[in-house]
């Protein structure tokens, strides 16, 4: 049962990732709602994490050993900034993550740079830094388990979490 749920979630992320990298935001919305509807099934409350995931995109992906925001990532963050403007009472924590192919310490440093890239991009887009925190998890919290590039590309990420 658990494994099935896990596979569903993973499948959802794969779809989401294909969508974010290959199509415009419309595709992303469809794919992401597949995974969120499997867990909740109800109406999406505006201004929540679920709303962010489904209607905006909660994460950006990074190239290997890089903390630079890609064009895709910047588009996602522009949408996140607009969303955050729309819900001014929402606070967030940005998490920076790395894939497993680096040392623990180097990846903590890299994860922090990634989180900060997202954080400062949102700050430049006008989001008050009092609403935002950021933290690095290095390679400690992979999104996808696996020792191949498919997993790694999903794990090199910056995730925006609604914290209130």
């Amino acid at each position: 049962m658990l494994k099935k749920l896990f596979m569903l979630i993973v499948a959802g992320f794969f779809l989401a990732s294909c969508a974010t990298t290959k199509t415009e935001e419309g595709g992303n919305v469809d794919a992401a709602s597949t995974s969120s509807s499997s867990s909740s099934g109800g109406e999406i409350t505006a201004g929540t994490q679920e709303d962010l995931i489904v209607n905006v995109g909660d994460r950006v992906f990074f190239e290997f050993d890089s903390s630079e925001l890609t064009v895709d990532a910047q588009a996602t963050l522009d949408a996140q900034a607009a969303w955050l403007m729309q819900y001014p009472d929402t606070n967030i924590t940005v998490e920076g993550h790395a894939d497993e192919r680096g040392t623990r310490e180097y990846n903590l440093a890299l994860g922090d740079k990634r989180a900060f890239s997202v954080y400062s991009y949102l700050a430049q887009a006008g989001i008050d830094t009092n609403r935002m925190e950021y933290v690095s998890w290095g390679k400690e919290r992979p999104e996808v388990i696996g020792s191949d590039e498919t997993a790694y590309s999903q794990n090199r990420r910056g995730v925006t979490l609604v914290s209130n």
């Binding site: 596979m7 040392t103 903590l108 440093a109 922090d112 992979p142 388990i145 696996g146």
Partner: protein, 439 residues
Amino acid sequence: MIRKILVILFFSFSANAALDVTISQGKVEPTPIAITQIFGADSDTARYGNTLRQIINNNLTNSGLFYTVNEDLYIQSDNLVEKVPRFEDWKLIKAQFLLSADVSKTDKGIRLRMRLYDVFNGKEIEKLQLTIPDENLIRRVGHTVSDIVYERITGETGYFDTRIVYVSEIGPLDQRVKRLAIMDQDGHLDSHQFLTDGKNLVLTPRFAPNNQIITYMEYKNNLPRVYIYNLKTGEREIVGDFPGMTFAPRFSPDSQSVVMSFSDPDNAANSEIYLMDLNTRSRSRLTNDSGIDTSPSFSPNGEKIVFNSDRGGSPQLFVMDKNGDNIKRISKGRGVYGNPVWSPRGDLIAFTKLTQGNFHIGVMDTNGNNERVIVRDFSLESPAWSPNGRYLIFHRQKRSNLDGTGGEVTIHFIDITGYNEMVIPTPRDGSDPAWSPLL
């Protein structure tokens, strides 16, 4: 003063050492030693004797420098603590050294007497008598006797009466529960103890070189910061309490400071290396570069620091003066370097290197010359030195799979010649091992 003691610890070679074992000789032929029964007059003392014999036997054999002659071959079966051995009998079975001991109860506690003989020269070369108040110290006695034998025969400082702190791991790989744990160097379950409860993620524990204090990183309230943990008092204390992440801590050789990375939000969260004086709590910044600077490790004389930096593009190893001057790249090979750790002997730097899809653990001279790979696998990390600078421990992780299986991680021991690799057993998975100084 403290440094003097350190130097003595790491560089003292017994003048009349029977064997001069150096790593430059490559693989060493293990020396045959016979260990008689450790005699006890009653069931308690006989049991202590058995335990001691097992500990000593394991320690010496695991060092790779000894093998114990099969007991079935022993001709003489006497207690040889007071009686002179029939050396001819021991020569015949090719035992080069002979250890005999007995245990008895006295009004002060448990008494151990030990004799070590050089069989070929037909003489006693070491004797020892010690009394311990209770049986809880039996394992330590076994390690101490092992150290004495090891030191007397190899001429190198022993490492058996030491502990390993590490991160115990359990649970799914994407939400791993990690706890600090500590155990004797041999990983014996009786010595195993958890230090944290698993509520917060903990990483990268390291021992102070001359006391029982560790420094590590913990995500308390989801804030990743450097802490120290006094093993004697159980006190835990934050060291890197700044806005921004502190991580990758290691003690200075005098154990009075911690060198670590600090990722300052006012510096675009770029990791720089800082030195924090534990007494005054003053900190000084040692690096200043737009690249990541992390994993600092002091030379044992306290003059230099080796660290990991991607300032040239990819992560490489650099050495600088203790104040941050004279930064020089030392890694010369191809690949991505990390985890540099200066040997307690001062002569070598251990490191990891990722190249051609595999991690390698190796050693190099402190100027980067003579790089040698010791072990290679899909995932290897966290090399740490034995206090005598002859062995490394590290962790090895298997590949993981999409269904959540795999990813097992274990702690390993290896002679820096690349021979004699062993798993150090842990009750759960284990990573980030670090070695204590001699107790």
